[in-house]
Symmetry: D2
Amino acid sequence: MTTRFEARDPLFEQRVRESFRMQPLMAFIGAELVAVTPGRCEIRLPFRNELAQQNGFFHGGIIGTLADNAGGFAAYSLMPHDAGVLTVEYKLNLMAPADGEMLRAEGDVVRAGRNLVVSRAEVHVAQGDRWVHCASMQQTLMTMHGKGVS
Amino acid sequence: MTTRFEARDPLFEQRVRESFRMQPLMAFIGAELVAVTPGRCEIRLPFRNELAQQNGFFHGGIIGTLADNAGGFAAYSLMPHDAGVLTVEYKLNLMAPADGEMLRAEGDVVRAGRNLVVSRAEVHVAQGDRWVHCASMQQTLMTMHGKGVS
Amino acid sequence: MTTRFEARDPLFEQRVRESFRMQPLMAFIGAELVAVTPGRCEIRLPFRNELAQQNGFFHGGIIGTLADNAGGFAAYSLMPHDAGVLTVEYKLNLMAPADGEMLRAEGDVVRAGRNLVVSRAEVHVAQGDRWVHCASMQQTLMTMHGKGVS
Amino acid sequence: MTTRFEARDPLFEQRVRESFRMQPLMAFIGAELVAVTPGRCEIRLPFRNELAQQNGFFHGGIIGTLADNAGGFAAYSLMPHDAGVLTVEYKLNLMAPADGEMLRAEGDVVRAGRNLVVSRAEVHVAQGDRWVHCASMQQTLMTMHGKGVS
């Protein structure tokens, strides 16, 4: 996770933020794009009861949604200006109850090929003043050359 | 997918429906538990713009949420009356744009062990009068003996 | 798993069998390509102690090898004559001890896109006169257009 | 990956090395257990033609075998003295051709629960004097309490 990447597109941050804003689901659940750097993206989501499963914790599907986006935008940050990004698949391990006030998903590119990108995301949940590691994701994405959103 | 299962708990349907109702996220996104039989569960979700990604299709995280629940409740239908269910992990392939009016996730138990259960789910999207196969999931669940919701 | 596929390449069987023969690992472990039809492939492997883990059962890595190949050749059977096939990723659930005399991996294409193909494989182990379902795989493959082996 | 673990069993290294030796497959393919520390395990495997796929590179199944074992023994190093370890599932991304003289799999525990452990493994291939990152794995393992090998 220590590999440093360089963005090919100097306007990558603007492009990622624009794509995030264009996803109605992010506003619907209340997610915030905290930071994006080349090959890395962090998204946070405050708890609200509507996002819970039967025990009052964040639902696993919401954890997957955040992880998918964090890994996906990490990948998208490295793509050419005119490209779109597509999630091919993701695999999520839920390791501890996501019982807390805030969810944080940090996505990191593992390897960026010309067409396929592999990302990972770590998801933590805030319990008082500590962050509990509650999920880990591994993901494959595809660069859609010439199919950017704008 | 043709294996037939028998439910150990004659009240399995009531138990699954109650657990579904206790997940606030299902009401929030508008999902409906259509049917549950031993080892099988179907959930549907009408499209609304709040659930979309940047192209106006169902967001991959929502597809994962539905698939996770369909596979999870399929597993839960086979568990003892006093057990709870926990998703250990799931892996989702997104195979076609989920561009349509309705999402349908069908979960099926592949193998039910005493502690671990493996499920799969197929997700289709309604485009006019046909159902397009848009995602496939494979999932591991754990039986939480003696930790049922009621 | 009931979808019927048509092979674009009338010589698909010969091409798949040739590719199987060109994998030294298959001969090394003693695997046999039993059958290949469009979108489907079956491989068998008799037990020998060299393939075992610490309890004398087939090693999980060998199960993965067989499943990867069964799913991969199922995908390859549908590809154009001049294409090569590449495994992007696979996910394998080991569901029961692979304790028996023979391993059988059946691979099936779930969806064949122009570039990406999703396959699954079921692995059974022969215990006397019955086949025990011991593993399930879900896999993503890529068509390498114009990069066939010959 | 920076979490430090402590082994509950002071004889963990001996136990892991003994289990490795008891897997006939490791000797058959020529794999060597290079190092094991609490929550971490490294395995190496020199290339030989018998392990190749059709292009003369390490076969994906062999990469999976090494990754499965590296992650599994990393998990096993943290388990109680009388426990056994079982791979529940693993997911492997193949990111670059494993074209080289030696394969190195490094397994790391991500989270060790009482029953379930999540590990990852990174696989590199030696090409002359550099190591190319060719595969990444994420894996779930189960502690079999009281079912150790000895």
